[in-house]
Amino acid sequence: MDWLSEFPSLGKRDLRDLKKGIDGSFREWSRSNGDAIEAFFDPLYFFLVWLEKLLIATPWPIILLIVAGLAYLGSRSWKLALGSVVSFMLIGYFGMWKDMMATISLISVSTLICIAVGIPIGILMSRYDRVQSAITPILDLMQTIPIFVYLLPVVMLLGIGRVPGLIAVCVYAIPPIIRLTNLGIRLVDKEILEAADAFGSSYRQKLFSVQIPLALPNIFAGVNQTIMMALAMVVIASMIGVKGLGMPVLQAVQNQYLTLGLMNGLAIVALAIIFDRVSQRYGQRLQAHRYGKEHE
């Protein structure tokens, strides 16, 4: 009755061979194709480095002005703009200016990639139910699979550095924008769509003049979530060599530098709050028409 108490499994040797086989062939594949794949991502690398250098090279007063300007344009709130500038000054004063610029460039580029890739995928999902049922499980997988598990093949393929870090961040941060774009478009009032049809709109006209504008609040909630998740990945990305505020946190964890960890951690929190509030306010302003009375 041995077979009852022991779960029937592949023999130890077979299992080892299987793992070895897959590992070996992936390694071989990555060795032979690694250069090509790396070359494919080169433009991204150069852009990332260029943006980081630009941010660091720009005199700090100008950066502060830009931060204040963007914060005000996004939120139309002097308080938020002032708060952002003060936070940036404090972070800089405590010697984290360069790291902060590196982190900002990473977050900006990854958010842009997520928007550029995620919104079209979300639109496709909203148009075809089949695409939706094919992509939803992939998104589930991306959001639940332990980060280190997909970090490994990325590192094997692209080595350690900014680009694999960026990819890891994007994989983690892209699901909300895809999901909320899809959801937002699907939630647009059926009667309004019927009216658009009745007047003879083409699919494209309906998409751009009705569906996307009315889905914008949801799409923007997706952008906001994507930014937040990208920031949450900063520390983990530093494990594969991404510079920025995450790196000192990692050092602090390894060496028990309490203050170093706390300072950089708080800097990340400050950035997160600024990005969150500004983008949320911007999203709210996009739906001004819903609270029509404000115009009067």
């Binding site: 019927e194 009216a195 009745a198």
Partner: protein
């Protein structure tokens, strides 16, 4: 009679994944309930035949669930029929390709919706210009036209407001202006005034009738409100369980209800106001005063009562005598036909 603009023939709609396969059972008389219970398909429209005359207001009336909104959506193919034919100006709209259909919707029909269905993120002016914008009309022309229509529905000064800033009645004026702006000859109105309160509804009916005097559009107007149907309809078709049970002009419906369902429907109307003397006219002429053929019974009674022999001539709109009415006939018409049948019930 003016010529037929829109012809609906043997139209069936069965909702459900295998609608087509139930056409024959439906033709052979399977009931709506049976179809639903045994086959989980919903009978939407059952053998609809309707000729809609040009430049008139055709009202389609029925209670909720009777299929009237389904029917109107077949005219611009927002809903595809299961079987049947629809022709507009002798053109078969069911054989149109997607591209032709889009063109048809842009140029030939426009629609007003029960819940307005305005674009909340666009201003009144942009909403009214929507039909023109998607046709690729020049911005200046679209603006000019939309301005004209905003003015004609009495919304000047509200061009830059958003729909959420307007009351329901004003929103539906925007909906009406949007539909008129494309100059389409066919206007589809799906319970357009049903969501408005009674006073505003009368207002909107007046606006529509006033505009129709100049525009002469072919209007298909859906409603569940009999007073509204009688007031604005040149012709009325009454729908029940997806079937037309009576069609005719308002006078015919009131004077000769086709069945008990319709009798029941019309029992609460003010017959004195709705029935016109031409409906009770007899042959011959009379010496005394004369009455216009579209004069209501209520007004006629007064005149008839004052006449010595209690009868009047009836004249048409050119002043020619075409018949006579008697006081007895007028009083008789005030009572419902089939009153005997209902006597027990109301004793």
């Amino acid at each position: 009679m003016s010529k037929t603009k829109l012809k609906i023939e043997n139209l069936y709609k069965i909702f459900g994944p295998r609608g087509k396969s139930f056409i024959d059972p439906v033709k052979n008389g399977i009931s709506k309930q049976e179809l639903l219970d045994n086959h989980s398909h919903v009978l939407g429209l059952n053998n609809i035949n309707l000729d809609i005359p040009e430049q008139r207001i055709q009202v389609i009336m029925g209670l909720s669930g009777s299929g009237k909104s389904t029917l109107i959506r077949h005219i611009n193919r927002l809903i595809e029929p299961t079987a049947g034919a629809i022709t507009v100006d002798d053109e078969d709209i069911l054989s149109m390709s997607q591209l032709q259909l889009r063109e048809f919707r842009r140029k030939k029909t426009s629609m007003v919706f029960q819940k307005f269905a305005l674009l909340p993120h666009k201003t009144v002016a942009q909403n009214v210009a929507y039909g023109l914008t998607i046709q690729g009309e020049q911005e200046s022309i679209a603006k000019e036209k939309s301005h004209k229509w905003i003015e004609s529905v009495g919304l000047s000064g509200f061009e830059e407001r958003y729909p959420a800033q307007l009351s329901g009645g004003m929103q539906q004026r925007v909906g009406l202006a949007r539909a008129l702006a494309t100059d389409a000859p066919i206007l589809l109105m799906d319970e357009a005034f049903s969501a408005l309160d009674p006073l505003i509804r009368t207002d909107m009916q007046n606006i529509l009738l006033e505009l129709q005097k100049d525009l002469h559009k072919t209007i298909i107007f859906i409603t569940h409100d009999l007073d509204e149907a009688l007031r604005i309809g040149d012709n009325i078709a009454i729908l029940r369980d997806g079937k037309i049970i009576q069609k005719g002009d308002p006078q015919q419906i009131i004077m000769k209800p086709a069945d008990d369902y319709i009798s029941d429907f019309i029992k609460d109307i003010n017959r004195g106001k709705v029935i016109e003397v031409k409906s009770i006219m007899q042959k011959g002429t009379s010496k005394g005063a004369s009455l216009d053929s579209s004069c209501s019974l209520e007004d006629a009674l007064k005149v008839l009562n004052n006449e010595k022999n209690n009868e009047c001539s009836v004249i048409d709109d050119k002043g020619k005598k075409i018949g006579k009415v008697t006081l007895d006939a007028a009083i008789g018409a005030l009572f419902r036909e089939k009153a005997s049948k209902n006597k027990e019930k109301y004793k």
